[in-house]
Amino acid sequence: MSSDHQSSENVSARPAVQIDGVTKSFGNTPALEPCWMKIKRGEFLTLLGPSGCGKTTLLNLIAGFLEADNGELFLGEDLVTQVPPHKREIGIVFQNYALFPHKTVAQNVEYGLRTRGVPKEESRARVKEALSLVKLENFADRKPRQMSGGQQQRVALARALVIRPRVLLLDEPFSALDRNLRVSMQIELKEIQTKLGLTTIFVTHDQNEALSMSDRIAVMSRGRVRHVGSPQEIYEHPKDLFVATFVGDTNLFRARIESSEGRTRLDIGGRKVEISSEQKEPRDLPSAVIVAARPEQCSLTSVESPDAIPATVAVVVYQGSYVELYLECEAAVHGRIMMRDVSKSFFHIGDKVGIRLATKGLNIFGSEQEIG
């Protein structure tokens, strides 16, 4: 635990959390493949992935509720792989709040201070401060069951914050709340987190939540971390097809790459589509590829134009500010694509239309990859 053999420079260079090749299996089924990750001080990192991909497992490993099969875990300078949970100084917020039902709000928040033997005076002041941080000063003497879900979750947050944890872990904290409350809780958490400069690891399977709150997102699937990056990187330059399809809406087209005279063209269902050369080097890719285009990278055009991919309107959904169109398209991987028509031209079911893809920012993947 001591750092006297390290230079102080080295110490401060350590990230808040460092995961070095940690793995975990339950019996013979691997729940977490070797995982490497560094989380900077004050960073808000989100673990995003479908159910059963190992998010909670990773969180439990960091908290110390599970023992890693391999690998090492650092919190700041300290190697904590073998340290039991109650000595890790980690704050946790659970989906079901996990407030002590037999204690009042104030006693719940005070719990972590009592275990640390913080003097009564100081403890009272810190509880008050924590409760005012989550705007619950007037609820100190209530029992958890006398409070709403959102209020209970704020108590849980205060309880985790009051011990000034090295890292705050939240496992789908807002998924039991209704939509409006969830959004306001997201904003509140983000505010508090920024204000305190708290290193935070947040688990969700809600991509909007991940995109709007995180400094960085780690997209996971089947026990593997697929891509760690800023929300923008994840959305605009997903590392693989899984990430592309799991985060945000994506239309996938089967295509072949043709390169001639330094220019790269895509052959999608017989139509030639020009793409700009900022894309991945075509030679890294097999000739059969899958093109991922966000709905905003697709536009409607006449079916006759030479670079348009032919499609048929199947479903029209009026959404207020735009119209959502579902089109049947032979070149699409799922036979169907989705786009948003802001001009709200009134299409009818059965109309033949052409889809034109943006020439920039398309993502191209080898066609053998897993689709999320």
Binding site: A63, G64, F65, E89, I92, N96, P101, R159, A160
Partner: protein, 295 residues
């Protein structure tokens, strides 16, 4: 009248379907129990006519008789039996229930479940017979202790309060284990995880989270153990062999050996009130203690 029944069903269906349907057998049972209690009550206030099974006129004499030393002693013995049985069952049952709920090994969980449940299917008489074999002068306990040289003469366990308590603990253990296990398994694991993350070690978690949350279950289990012991008849009768007189063995003796039904009725009634009083005091006391734990 079919329509009023229908209306009733429709009304209850809206909130709790089948409530009316399920409640009706319960009502029948409740009515029979109340009727039986009333019968006992009126018996207890009738005079005893020696040599006759028919009770005489109204009197409160029977309750005055209960103040005699023999009956007072039976009340005390019964209370002590219940107290020790409940206490020992709780002490033995809690760790077993805890292991049954929390053990990671399914062998341990299954083992405890089976060994604690099977005695339930044997019935009190058969179990008591087994205990008579174990506790007797030539019983397993004495033979083992003698062979090991722990004792030089066989100790008497048969016809003693200790022997009765041992058998009663075994008799009560299954239900207590099941009740405590039910209480423990309802405690959210995340609460203990949260406590750990807040810096509490295992012992602290146990005393500040697990135990307080299990307390209602422990109170219920202890109350059950107490009233089971109170109503036990075969065990004190067979192992006590007349040397350990409890209220139930006395009721039997007075009612079916002396045929003094009115006195037996008043003794039963007094016993019932006695249990209710003890359990009420216990529950109120526990609630006070729980409140203390809050602050």
């Amino acid at each position: 009248m079919w329509w009023s029944v229908d209306l009733f069903v429709v009304k209850t269906m809206s909130k709790r379907p089948f409530l009316g349907l399920f409640a009706s057998p319960a009502t029948l049972v409740a009515i029979s129990i109340v009727a039986a209690l009333l019968a006992i009550f009126q018996y207890s206030l009738r005079a005893y006519v020696p040599g006759s099974l028919r009770p005489g006129g109204f009197t409160i004499e029977n309750f005055a008789v209960l103040w005699k030393p023999m009956f007072r002693k039976a009340f005390l013995t019964t209370f002590l039996l219940c107290f020790w049985t409940a206490l020992l069952t709780l002490l033995a049952g809690f760790p077993l229930a805890y292991a049954m709920v929390r053990s990671k090994s399914s062998l341990v969980r299954g083992g405890i479940l089976i060994t604690s449940l099977t005695p339930m299917f044997l019935g009190e008489v058969i179990r008591t017979y087994s205990w008579m074999i174990v506790l007797g002068k030539q019983g397993i306990i004495n033979v083992c202790l003698l062979r090991l040289g722990v004792i030089s003469e066989p100790i008497s366990l048969m016809f003693t309060t200790t022997g009765v308590v041992i058998a009663l603990v075994h008799f009560t253990l299954p239900i207590v284990i099941i009740m405590i296990a039910a209480a423990l398994s309802h405690i959210d694991w995340n609460l203990e995880k949260a406590a750990a993350s807040l810096g509490a070690g295992r012992v602290r978690i146990f005393f500040t989270v697990t135990l307080p949350l299990a307390t209602p279950g422990l109170v219920a289990a202890t109350s059950t153990a107490f009233s089971w012991t109170f109503s036990a008849f075969a065990t004190p009768q067979m192992i006590g062999g007349g040397k350990v007189q409890t209220i139930s063995t006395l009721v039997y003796q007075v009612g079916f050996s002396s045929f003094n039904m009115p006195l037996a009725a008043s003794l039963s009634l007094a016993g019932l009130l006695f249990t209710i009083a003890v359990l009420t005091l216990f529950n109120v006391g526990m609630r006070k203690i729980e409140k203390l734990g809050d602050c």
